[in-house]
């Protein structure tokens, strides 16, 4: 079941540019290494052979924000870390997406105190929140696939630079 059967003998396929671009974005989305706490262990597990996130085109974790499309905030963000996180987000090239992985990154989790940011959506715009403490690798992969669905529906005119 590949594109060959659908094409038949014609050698032509028609689609929209939006579809092609969004498809290519979802199939090579490189996340940035941003493990902050125990969620990072689950993120590593999601990448490793048992769960194998590379099935969805994410086999490469980039250590540099300049080369990454997706920031997975895995763990609690302290108030001292917050400006660093924002700076790394600003250094990522457009288009860029953010997944808040786990309860701490989503809403502060059990750390309702002076030191921890109560949800990274105070600092960066978040696309997908993944619940769990920590989330299972399946949950993270589900979050990523949810993000793909979101990206596939994106319109160019919404993304245009204002």
């Amino acid at each position: 079941m590949g594109v060959e059967q659908k094409l038949g003998d014609m050698g032509i396929v028609t689609t929209t540019l939006e579809n092609v671009v969004n498809w290519s974005r979802t199939n090579a989305m490189w996340p940035m290494l941003f493990g902050l706490a125990c969620c990072a262990i689950e993120m590593m597990a999601a990448q490793a052979s048992h769960f194998d996130m590379s099935r969805f085109g994410m086999e490469l974790m980039r250590a540099s924000p300049r080369q990454s499309d997706l920031m997975i905030v895995a763990g609690r963000v302290s108030r001292k870390m917050a400006p660093v996180l924002r700076r790394l987000y600003d250094q990522m090239p457009e288009p860029k997406w953010v997944i808040a992985m786990g309860d701490c990154a989503s809403c502060g989790g059990v750390f309702n105190n002076y030191a921890i940011v109560q949800g990274v959506d105070e600092i960066v715009p978040v696309d997908v929140f993944v619940a769990g403490c920590p989330p299972r690798p399946e949950a993270l992969i589900h979050g990523v696939v949810t993000l793909y669905e979101k990206v596939k529906g994106e319109k160019f005119k919404d993304l245009a630079v204002k």
């Binding site: 108030r79 001292k80 309702n112 030191a115 949800g119 105070e122 715009p125």
Partner: protein, 170 residues
């Protein structure tokens, strides 16, 4: 109390007129703030307490006055001994002479005292905050510090709290 420790506690008593109390086999020696550096030098040089294993503080507000106890936990690896020095401190601007010239490790520990309790180490080479970001108001481990608590969102107050949340613009 350990026999070897008795002579040490006595020496502290004679030199600095300290008091002591025992709690579950641990000895707490109460020293005045002006004597603490000399007491540390005495313990380090004469009684082989070569390791300052902890330098911290406790806030007993509002039950006790003076409210702070600065705690020096000393260990002697040679003699297998451990002793705790406590300096009671009063007031809103508590100050303690720095121990950095006796134990190098006291540098960061005293910065933590400054950060978390607002206890100022006098003569410290680098008196900055160590854990909290610059510009933080207050000292988090004081008992009268507010918890910095954010109200949890439930279904009945979700929208109300949502309006107050400082979301990132873009």
């Amino acid at each position: 109390m350990d026999k070897k420790l008795e002579t040490i506690v006595q020496a502290l008593q004679e030199n600095f007129s300290t008091t002591f109390e025992e709690f579950r086999g641990e000895v707490h020696v109460f020293v005045k703030a002006e004597n603490i550096v000399d007491a540390l030098i005495l313990l380090r040089d004469k009684y082989d307490f070569e390791l300052l294993s902890a330098l911290t503080a406790t806030d007993y507000w509002p039950q006790q006055s003076p409210r702070f106890h600065v705690i020096y936990q000393l260990t002697s690896l040679v003699k297998n001994l451990s002793v705790q020095l406590r300096v009671p401190l009063n007031g809103d601007q508590p100050k303690i002479p720095t121990a950095t010239r006796v134990y190098e490790i006291a540098n960061w520990r005293e910065r933590e005292l400054l950060d978390m309790f607002g206890i100022e180490p006098e003569g410290h080479p680098d008196p900055r905050r160590i854990l909290m970001p610059d510009g933080t108001e207050g000292h988090p481990l004081r008992r009268d510090f507010p918890l910095g608590y954010e109200e949890p969102q439930f279904t009945f107050n979700l929208e109300e709290i949502d309006l107050q949340k400082p979301y990132a613009k873009e």
